[in-house]
């Protein structure tokens, strides 16, 4: 983990309120696992005080660059959206434990299920899986046509389904509609998105091995502040816990209560 001022290479609005931020920095070397995140200080000032956890969407080791995709919705991300190429951004990372690529073997079928702003880390995951000979199917859920991003980039890596809640693009409904209709017989499912979606993916038992990336309000991002703890699934009222930031954010389905 490094604390570093990374420079903005490019910053592009790629869908309604969704931005793709490409950064350059030494910490790229430490980025191996898809699904890890960086903790971003969006302003030099005191408002907001805390960093923003944003997952890594793409790693480019050759250029020492990595990509973050985020939705501009609150004060923090609005300030981040103002960064221009050449600007410096104070970043702590990489943090957390990402998706276990090794769990998918050559020739396996991996189904990647993403919802909204949970889609980005699946892109680096799909890249790494494909490069080791895993067949990838991507199921991406969005609110509406205007919020769809990276569809063609995912399509380059494997068969890609898009679902929109209002039916303006792809299948009408949720990612689970696609999962229930298509019966993929996946060896492994990886998922990232809103909690209700993760719950549905967990309950659907769409593969023997299912990995989920959780989201929670974080403080430090390194496991010290205990802001983002969750209960274990087999001890929902007890004292045992996992920290989303440092034990996760990726957990095997059934490990933690979601």
């Amino acid at each position: 983990m490094l604390k570093e001022h990374c420079s903005v290479v490019s910053h592009t609005c790629i869908a309604d309120s969704v931005y793709e931020l490409v950064l350059e920095g030494e910490m790229t070397k430490q980025m191996q696992q898809p699904g890890q995140f960086v903790h971003v200080k969006v302003s030099d000032g005191l408002d907001p005080v805390l960093r923003r956890p944003i997952s890594i969407a793409n790693i480019n080791q050759e250029k020492s660059q990595f990509t973050l995709i985020y939705r501009k919705q609150g004060r923090g991300t609005s300030l981040l959206a103002e960064k221009k190429p050449g600007d410096q951004v104070d970043i702590l990372g990489p943090l957390g434990n990402g998706f276990p690529v090794a769990e998918a073997g050559k020739g396996n079928l991996a189904v990647l299920v993403g919802g909204g702003i949970g889609v980005p880390p699946l892109y680096e995951l799909a890249k790494q899986l494909v490069s080791k000979g895993v067949t990838v199917i991507n199921i991406l859920g969005f609110q509406t046509q205007g919020s769809v991003f990276y569809e063609s980039k995912f399509a380059e890596l494997g068969q890609t389904y898009v679902a929109t809640v209002d039916g303006t693009h792809g299948t009408e409904g949720f990612v689970t509609s696609v999962l229930n209709n298509e019966k993929f017989h996946a060896d492994i499912v990886y998922s990232c998105g809103p909690t209700p979606m993760l719950r549905a993916v967990e309950e659907g038992e769409f593969a023997k091995k299912v990995y989920l990336s959780l989201e929670e309000r974080m403080g430090c991002g390194i496991g010290a502040c205990f802001a983002c703890v969750c209960h274990l699934k087999d001890d929902p009222e007890g004292y045992s816990y996992k920290k989303v930031c440092s034990d996760g954010p990726v957990f095997r389905a059934g490990e933690v209560a979601i």
Partner: protein
């Protein structure tokens, strides 16, 4: 010669900078980032007799210049702190200040008695000021008589000096400070967080699951300085100051107000390297301001000039 070493009851500090309780866990996470030996001391996370899961999430909310937390004293319980967390910290050459918490007087006495015997615990910090638990915590820190009585009981069983952590959520902090001094406290740590809340624009409900939380960060610094300024003139025991410290300049300001050492809290979450940075920057800042030792700064805001006759005389 060091410009930063400080001797306080039970504590021989290399420098007066330490992470504040609840902002540093039991040190493990930060030990991956820098050598904990460089710290003046470590105030470890509050310990209660039994394990506590703490409050439901969300446990943090933000506000300009600060944050609200309602963790709820999550900790693995006295037994595990004694058998795992404190022994693990023994690999570092740094004194530990154990934060003692509970719901009843008996809880505090039990934790204090047992934890004070851990070999690397050099002092206790009696947490009578946590605003985020339903029973205990702040209840003991807002009534002078209760605070004094609890201090006496803990002092009677502790084998190391006892610092009492004061709450700013009181009308007259000086009366609480005097009461715990009369109860035998060896020092004070102040301030704990200020009780606050945030509401969600869509739902109209509190953001924190606990509804209210403790405000910390730069926003509380002026309150902490004012309280240390008032208390340090009325008690003769030393104060470890805390509340929004982010820089070496802030440290000096706390010393001027009356602190003899300081703790850094929230800023550890923003910059995990803040403590080593401050420790590194302090000597040059002291030299620039014309001091040969940091202890010369304590209480400079209110002490009479002749008390500093030795300084640049």
């Amino acid at each position: 010669m060091s410009m930063l070493n400080i001797d306080l009851p039970g504590l021989s500090l290399k420098n007066p900078v330490m992470p504040a309780s609840g902002c540093f866990g039991f040190g493990k996470e930060f030990s991956n980032l820098f050598n904990l030996d460089i710290l003046g001391a470590i105030m470890v996370k509050a310990t209660t007799p039994e394990p506590r899961f703490g409050n439901p999430t969300p446990r943090v909310a933000e506000t300009p210049g600060g944050m609200l937390n309602a963790i709820g004293l999550q900790n693995p319980g006295l037994k595990k702190v004694l058998s795992e967390e404190l022994p693990w910290l023994k690999r570092f050459d740094v004194p530990i200040i154990a934060n003692v918490a509970g719901s009843t007087e008996e809880d505090y006495v039990q934790v204090a008695k047992e934890i004070s015997h851990a070999p690397n615990v050099h002092a206790l910090e009696l947490n009578i000021s946590c605003p985020n638990v339903k029973t205990g915590g702040i209840a003991f820190g807002t009534d002078p008589e209760m605070a004094k009585s609890l201090t006496q009981k803990v002092k009677a069983v502790s084998s190391v000096p006892v610092y009492v952590k004061l709450s700013p959520n009181v009308t007259d902090i000086v009366s609480i400070a005097k009461a715990v001094e009369a109860g035998g406290a060896d020092g004070l740590t102040m301030i704990n967080t200020l009780l606050g809340m945030r509401l969600d624009l869509q739902t109209a409900k509190p953001i924190l699951a606990n509804r209210t939380g403790g405000l910390s960060g730069a926003a509380v610094k002026p309150v902490a300085l004012r309280m240390i300024y008032e208390v340090s003139q009325q008690v003769s025991i030393p104060i470890i100051g805390m509340g929004g410290i982010q820089s070496a300049e802030d440290v000096i300001e706390f010393f001027y107000a009356g602190a003899s050492a300081v703790a850094v809290g929230t800023q550890n979450f923003v910059d995990p390297f803040v403590c080593p940075s401050i420790i590194e920057e302090l000597p040059a800042l002291l030299a620039k301001l014309g001091y040969s030792h940091i202890s010369e700064c304590t209480g400079r805001s209110w002490k009479k000039v002749e008390q500093f006759a030795h300084h640049r005389a």
